[in-house]
Amino acid sequence: MAELTEAQIEVAELIIEALNLDDLTPQDIDPDAALFREGLGLDSIDALELAMAISRKYGFQLRSDDPNNSTIFSSLRALTAYIESQRMT
């Protein structure tokens, strides 16, 4: 499993706090594993909770890239990259 970057640890901590995944630490999350279904097992309810937490912390609103949000939420790596790109704009 790859080492997490600082930004990935920050997003992982946000996920754990927003979704109340108390038994996880950021290091338990594989940056390339899927966040939804297979993988971390998140679902659409979590996606909305996460969207709220992201807008509170980073000050921008998430937009779907496709009906299943499969790109943004495909992995911790992808979600972190998406957040970084939105923060810069």
Partner: protein, 431 residues
């Protein structure tokens, strides 16, 4: 409103005629379209081709497979079957599009306590009467044509009645999308220019109530699938500037009543519907005079038109607006090869005011939780996946073979090998 452009009534008829020519000759169609406009075209084409539309309770592969097996002559009608719709030529569509009121046009499936989804048959007359009642209550029969964005799937009874039948029967223009995040929803609303209506659920409204979102002007917001709290409704009214109205209904009866929770707790029945207590529960006596419909909730009637909801039968649970039967879910858990015993339950509290989640206890010495969750995910809607799924040596049966809720909760809380769905099993999180 499809692909960013309004579709005229004449063009819609051309699209339906185009689709009619392409549907296979079968008695039933499992309608899986995700694009709302394609669903509207496909639904109308099925009606004209005299095909019964089957609407599955969710999109899990297991559920759709079992529907295919139950209706062996049916076919799956999804968005791809309507590829090429945009290039449909102008055809002669001057035929008679009226349908007999007593024709059975759709089967709306809900999860039943027996484990087999229950089919709720709908005639064209019932669907039209339901749409007219809603149209009258919401005042859509007067004033300019309304424009609607819906976040609910058209396969769900609420989504079908509001986002498919109101456009067909009340001149409402509907946005083809199914926006998900708050900003997606507001962007879709901004694409519309008429008096706007948002059809959504408490789950989406919770996210929409956050401060800092720029709302366009709305005529009203319509919520259903689960009751709204007055607190959340007032937050949404303050954020959006629009009144929040609610629909009470179920797949069996469709929309039954409405309320505006910021003003009143009681529901007011639609049209000439009546609610009466029977020996084994409450029944809706439909305006049309058809057979009374047994309801899954308990009520207190205030007068002939108004009622409050007291609660649900204990077997039925509502997670994020999706209704499920604990008995059905337990049956599916026990049917997994390698599972010796198991039970689903709804814990009393959810941490931090979050959406409540189901939990499950399972006896399966030779399976790990990941593979159990993986097998379950094929059969049940993802919102019902247990959090946590806890492995135990045996379930706490009483001498009479019952599983007392208190004993199950105690077992769930006890220390021991518990694997929450999002825990770090195998270093990869859960299955």
């Amino acid at each position: 409103m499809w692909q960013g452009v309004p579709v005229s009534r004449a063009r819609f008829r051309e699209h339906v005629a185009w689709a009619c020519e392409r549907l296979p000759q079968r008695p039933e169609a499992i309608l899986l379209c995700e694009d709302r406009y394609r669903f509207l075209v496909a639904f109308t084409a099925c009606l004209l081709r005299q095909q019964v539309v089957l609407l599955p309770p969710n999109r899990s592969p297991g559920e759709i497979d079992s529907l295919s097996q139950r209706y062996p002559e049916s076919y799956r009608l999804d968005d791809s079957l309507l590829d090429g719709l945009a290039s449909a030529g102008s055809t002669d569509v001057t035929g008679d599009w009226r349908l007999p009121a007593d024709r059975r046009v759709a089967l709306v499936f809900t999860s039943g306590s027996t484990g087999v989804p229950r089919a709720n048959p709908k005639t064209w007359g019932e669907l039209v009467a339901g749409a007219r009642r809603v149209r009258a209550r919401l005042g859509l029969d007067k004033g300019p044509a309304r424009q609607m964005v819906a976040t609910v799937p058209p396969q769900h009874m609420f989504g079908l009645e509001m986002s498919i039948l109101l456009p067909l029967q009340a001149g409402v223009t509907v946005h083809a999308g199914r926006p998900f995040f708050p900003q997606d929803i507001l962007d879709a609303l901004k694409e519309l220019d008429g008096p706007r209506i948002l059809v959504t659920t408490p789950l989406h409204l919770k996210a929409l109530a956050e401060p800092g979102l720029a709302w366009p002007a709305l005529e009203f917001i319509l919520s259903a699938t689960a009751p709204l709290s007055r607190e959340l409704a007032c937050q949404v009214v303050a954020a959006s500037g629009a009144p929040v109205r609610e629909i009470f209904g179920c797949s069996e009866a469709g929309a039954m009543a409405t309320r505006e929770i910021a003003r009143e707790t009681a529901w007011t029945l639609l049209g000439e519907h009546r609610l009466r207590a029977g020996e084994d529960g409450f029944y809706l006596y439909p305006e049309e005079g058809s057979d009374p419909i047994r309801l899954a909730d308990r009520f207190r009637c205030l007068d002939a038109r108004r009622f409050v909801v007291l609660g649900r039968d204990t077997d039925m649970v509502n997670i994020a607006g999706k209704r499920g039967s604990l008995g059905d879910l337990t049956g599916k858990l026990r049917a997994i090869p390698g599972v010796e015993d198991g039970v689903f339950l709804l814990p009393d509290h959810s941490p931090g005011g979050r959406e409540p989640r189901l939990a499950a206890l399972v006896v399966a010495p030779d399976l790990d939780t990941r593979s159990i969750l993986k097998a379950l995910a094929r059969e049940i809607d993802e919102v019902f996946l247990p959090r946590p799924l806890k492995r135990v040596d045996r379930l706490p049966y009483t001498e009479t073979g019952k599983l007392p809720r208190a004993a199950l909760l105690a077992m769930l809380d006890a220390e021991g090998p518990s694997v929450a769905p999002a825990s770090a099993a195998g270093g990869h999180g859960r299955a």
